[in-house]
């Protein structure tokens, strides 16, 4: 089964992770712009980060047979520093036009401050102007209220619900998200947010329509193989193959293809690995022999 992880922060992961993901069937990922665990203090730090998301990281993924897309935005965790907001939002506006950028995100609320309201509203306006879908982070604290407030803001801004992915849902926010008409993401995390058995239960209750799962793996305790592991759990629970395929492959493609920057037909063709390639003179190799696939035989993933 082909798998798409619609939310994973590969910048923080190793080449071993890429190889393991490809072996487990993940052939496409979306990397939302995020924070680095501590807030950046200069707008220039964001520019280099955005450049790596549309450049080096996209290349690095391709070296393991994985197609890499990204979403760009100023995340709510860094939205409360007035010194960087205006210049970073100018950068977001500029970089949203790049190839491989398939949504504005992850944006939303963290502390639900007036500053976060302002920055969310400005980025929603950018998404409408660029014709891009919106990928929404829902807060850890005061989650239900935060989810409702986000959906209300998007509705008032005139964003069609099919252009919105509300992420990090749980048992109590999923009905709110589905009622709104938005897509519903679920982050499968070791020991928090959502786990495999609970996710199986949600799919048994709600089916696969507008439902997605992701690992949100980053620099913290997380697992880049949570999409294949949850897929296995759904298979073991007897969930129909068609429903699983909808959740782990067709839905992410349908959502992000609304950007016009992701071609569903191209995604069906395996990406050949050619580690002889360079990116700005750099390579993922550290003196190793490059792995090279003959085109259309993407099974040979470096172990």
């Amino acid at each position: 089964m082909k798998l798409f992880d619609p939310h994973i922060h590969m910048t923080s992961r190793t080449t071993d992770d890429y190889a393991a993901m490809r072996r487990a069937g993940i052939i496409a990922v979306t990397e939302p712009a995020f924070w680095l665990g501590q807030p950046r203090t200069h707008a220039g730090s964001f520019e280099d980060y955005f450049l790596s998301l549309v450049g080096w990281e996209r290349f690095r993924a391709s070296q393991f047979g994985i197609r890499h897309f990204c979403t760009l935005g100023l995340n709510p965790k860094e939205a409360n520093n007035p010194d960087i907001v205006d210049p970073v939002l100018e950068l977001v506006d500029l970089y949203l036009e790049k190839d491989g950028v398939v949504a504005v995100g992850e944006i939303g609320y963290d502390d639900m401050t007036p500053a976060e309201d302002d920055i969310l509203g400005r980025q929603v306006e950018m998404a409408l102007r660029h014709g891009l879908p919106i990928m929404v982070h829902t807060p850890h604290r005061d989650k239900k209220a935060g989810t409702r407030r986000t959906i209300d803001l998007l509705r008032e801004a005139g964003v069609p619900p099919h252009m919105v992915l509300i992420d990090h849902n749980n048992e109590e926010t999923l009905p709110i998200t589905l009622d709104s008409g938005c897509w519903a993401g679920h982050t499968i995390y070791p020991g928090s947010k959502m786990d495999e058995p609970r996710m199986v239960g949600l799919v048994q209750t709600y089916g696969g329509e507008r439902i997605m799962i992701n690992s949100s793996a980053d620099w913290g305790i997380s697992d880049p193989l949570k999409v294949p592991k949850t897929t296995d759990a759904m298979v073991a629970a007897g969930i129909a193959t068609d429903t699983i395929d909808t959740i782990v492959w067709r839905n992410p493609i349908a959502f992000y293809a609304q950007s016009g920057r992701l071609d569903p037909a191209e995604l069906e063709i395996p990406l050949p690995v050619d580690q002889r390639l360079l990116f700005e003179g750099n390579t993922v190799l550290r003196g190793q022999a490059p792995a090279v696939d003959v085109p259309a035989a993407a099974t040979a993933v470096p172990a």
């Binding site: 501590q38 409360n80 604290r141 005061d142």
Partner: protein
């Protein structure tokens, strides 16, 4: 607590406690604060960092020193180290010499500080003149993912209950529950518990139960405690 600073009395008391531990350290402090570098300047940051190399092995506050430090505004001086006293003495002298630029300068100092330096700044906020003006800095510190930095502002600190607006205070309390910091360490929590905070805590308890996950005991204590006026959560 009084929101008025212990006018110009704080720094000499801290300096006395340093002198009681290490005469060399006290001499260095006196020389450094004779013409204090302003917070955030390279001169200040160098001295602030180097202070931790002094008073190694000196005892933490004890005996009669504890009530004296509590009177200055430190909630739990038992958790302070000798180095923290020295750094606080430097910081107070430097901020007192700064005037109206103090919030911007202290924010700059905070940004280039390591985790323990940040903790000292946050734990010392109530010692500074006109502490209310540092509320934006303290609120930003609540967003830290570095647990000792978060705990330096949220725990054993009189600042949040005295100066935080309700949304910021409530977010801080929920974050303490999330990160496992005992709510008993939040100074003034009972007085600041409002219907909005209880609603947030109740939503969180409901989400945890729906997820089949353990509800932190602190959440139950927060929700089941009576209001200051004697009423309880409906």
């Amino acid at each position: 607590m009084s929101t008025r600073p212990a006018e110009r009395r704080t720094q000499p008391i801290l300096a006395l406690l340093v002198a009681a531990r290490d005469p060399d350290g006290a001499a260095w402090l006196e020389a450094t604060v004779a013409a204090p570098a302003l917070p955030g300047t390279p001169g200040f940051m160098r001295a602030f960092a180097a202070a931790s190399r002094r008073l190694r092995g000196s005892p933490p506050p004890q005996g009669d020193e504890l009530p004296a430090l509590r009177a200055l505004g430190i909630a739990v001086p038992e958790r302070w180290s000798a180095q923290r006293l020295l750094r606080a003495a430097l910081l107070v002298a430097s901020v007192e010499a700064t005037g109206e630029e103090a919030p911007a300068r202290l924010t700059a100092a905070f940004r280039t500080s390591d985790s323990e330096e940040r903790a000292v700044i946050l734990q010392s906020l109530t010692l500074l003149p006109d502490p209310a003006r540092f509320a934006p800095l303290a609120a930003d510190a609540c967003r830290s993912s570095v647990q000792p930095v978060f705990e330096a502002v949220a725990g054993d600190n009189r600042f949040p209950s005295a100066f935080f607006a309700e949304p910021i205070f409530n977010q801080m309390v929920l974050k303490a529950v999330f990160t496992g910091m005992p709510l008993a360490r939040i100074v003034g929590l009972a007085e600041r518990t409002t219907p909005a905070l209880r609603r947030m805590a109740a939503d969180f308890r409901s989400e945890r139960r729906a997820a089949g996950r353990v509800v932190p005991a602190d959440l139950d204590r927060l929700l089941d405690a009576p209001f200051p006026d004697g009423t309880t959560t409906p």
